[in-house]
Subunit: 342 residues, 2 copies
DNA sequence: TAACTTTCTGAAAGCCTTTTCGGTTCACCG
DNA sequence: CGGTGAACCGAAAAGGCTTTCAGAAAGTTA
């Protein structure tokens, strides 16, 4: 029988041990260690040394029990696999980790039953707040208003406007992308993008169209919705070149699509960026820096989304409630695949 | 002044509330809810209903304080960014999440100071154990033997053999990869791989060489160490074809390298897989399924590494200590880029 | 009816820390 | 030398839960 009490593993020291070793009461020890002013300097020193000797770490459980705040938050993601969750998670972890907050990570695998389960478990652990990270920008069901702790939604906004959601501004991103291509002197711009079931795809297309309209231009053909894959990029580029051989720029809905587009352009003997400039979306480094030339792409600043969500949650824990959907700007990262017309 | 006590947010119910509502003592309520046998069925029912009504969730802090076990573990990663940490983290989260264990996520950013800081914070929170996830397979400094809780190292083994480490078997992976190419009838196999500073690169090369030796063969040329990038794949393939034009298979140290290799092969008019079979490493889906043809690759089963680490930690918490480095097998995922010689 | 089980219930201790508040000590002043 | 205030210290409560143990209630047997 394996016992849980491993005799070789010493129990961590308690405040009691420290107090005894220093020859003071528990209360004094606590005050000494927490910088309270009711302690003589000499006594404080003795206590601190005792704590050092026992490598005492105050038990956060007890502290949390007493304070009513645990200094923990739950990070509820719907798919760790997805590459969008990770940077957000990093940003949040970063914003919290700097302070004295620890993060519980839960992956619901896109299953709402499991999500419910995790929420309950987190509430049982008395987290001070919750960040819900989605894997796409389409609105998702709210966790509800009755929760005992504040909640902030990141990337995927809540469908309840009373909740606070932090998302990247994909419409504006579409505008910015086209803006860059226009600044390069391109006027015959096509848009090849992914699954039209994704709000992100539709919003980017909308932004692109709006920016062109502002310049008195239109897309070359309709936006070509399809899949978020290199294969779709290749297939639709072939079609595009047949139908609109005079295109001078392609804005792609993802870096994967852009890779496919560039491959076919090269095969057809077109030069990137001279003949056709190509732009991707997501700024996924493995794709942007593997291509020839390196791929200009729109970065959604996801880490910042995560950080903003964490800060908003921090504020909400402090009582400063916000609500609605807050859209953060994206940014264009210029590399070799776009250049001014010569 | 924003106050922390938000009057609109109801305090969660305590066992006391439940007991009062059910008209029993706290003790009885506790026993009723925890399935202890000292309670009449009718009383138990009343308590359960009361708990339901108040949507009572026992405070895990208080429970943990009492039990000496918190039901939490720390997951210490050195770089969330890196794509190797994530699947491991998923596997671990999976193995734990199924039970009643919650996971604290900490990212040390490859900084050992920050790592120390996180370890202390986690110990202060009285985690029951720690999983340390590395970003490369080279051994890393142990956290030490004096820790109050068990530790399991995943992917990056500890340099102290007294610790338990779970890693993928890269030597064997090299053997398996070459085994597959040999099974395809390939005999003139080249190896293009990444930074020789990485143990993974050296081990895979070693395994490949060993498998060839077993078959009475040798690599075509020396292993070509370089960088883990498409660019290196392209550059070294050009060189390879100049020096060894009769090569009939290329084993690559990563999927990125493989993509570069395939691009140059295609440009030189060589057919994949007919003329030259190409194999990658890591089975990174965005790369393997974007290429033409889809890329055969070695998967390190990282999720399983994570799961195994979690299970080992679970065992260690229960007192079943293991130690040493345990290497888990990888697997070859066959796609279109490798095929038998016709 | 007395004595004895059996079954259920509740008071209280304990986990570890922080904080309040009353008590002790001591220097200093009138 | 009694009194005052400051400086320091410790007892105790609180926070929510589990568990032990003693006691109450109900049922059984002689």
């Amino acid at each position: 029988m394996t016992q849980t009490a491993d005799p070789s593993r010493p129990q961590p020291a308690t405040l009691n041990d420290v107090a005894r070793l220093a020859g003071v009461s528990i209360a004094t020890a606590s005050k000494a260690l927490n910088g309270r002013s009711q302690v003589r300097a000499e006594t404080r020193q003795r206590v601190i040394e005792a704590a050092e000797r026992l490598s005492f770490r105050p038990n956060q459980l007890a502290r949390g029990l007493l304070a009513g705040r645990t200094g923990t938050v739950g990070l509820l993601t719907s798919d760790l696999e997805g590459r969008f969750s990770i940077p957000i998670l990093m940003g949040a972890e970063d914003a919290f980790g700097a302070g004295e907050v620890a993060v519980f990570l839960c992956d619901a695998r896109g299953d709402s039953i499991r999500e419910q389960h995790h929420v309950r478990a987190l509430l049982g652990r008395r987290v001070d707040g919750l960040i819900v990270v989605g894997s796409r920008t389409d609105p998702r069901p709210s966790l509800g208003r009755e929760l005992a702790v504040p909640v902030v939604y990141a990337y995927a906004p809540s469908d309840d406007p009373a909740d606070l959601s932090i998302v990247p501004d994909n419409v504006d991103a579409g505008r910015m992308a086209v803006g860059h291509l226009l600044a390069c002197g391109r006027t015959r711009i096509a848009h090849i993008t992914g699954d039209p079931g994704y709000l992100a795809a539709r919003e980017r297309a909308e932004g692109a169209r709006a920016a062109l309209a502002d310049a008195g231009l239109r897309l070359v053909g309709e936006p070509r919705f399809g899949a978020w894959s290199e294969g779709w990029g290749r297939a639709s580029t072939a079609l595009l070149l047949d139908q609109q051989p005079d295109v001078d720029a392609v804005l792609c809905g993802s870096d994967q699509i852009a890779r496919g587009v560039m491959d076919v352009l090269r095969e057809r003997g077109l030069r990137v960026p001279e003949d056709v400039s190509v732009m991707g979306f997501d700024n996924w480094q493995v794709l942007t820096s593997g291509s020839r030339p390196h791929l200009t792409s729109v970065d959604m600043n996801l880490e910042q989304v995560g950080r903003a969500a964490a800060q908003a949650l921090f504020g909400a824990i402090g009582g400063a409630t916000r609500s609605g959907v807050e859209a953060l700007p994206c940014r264009v990262v210029i590399r070799g695949s776009t250049a001014p017309l010569s």
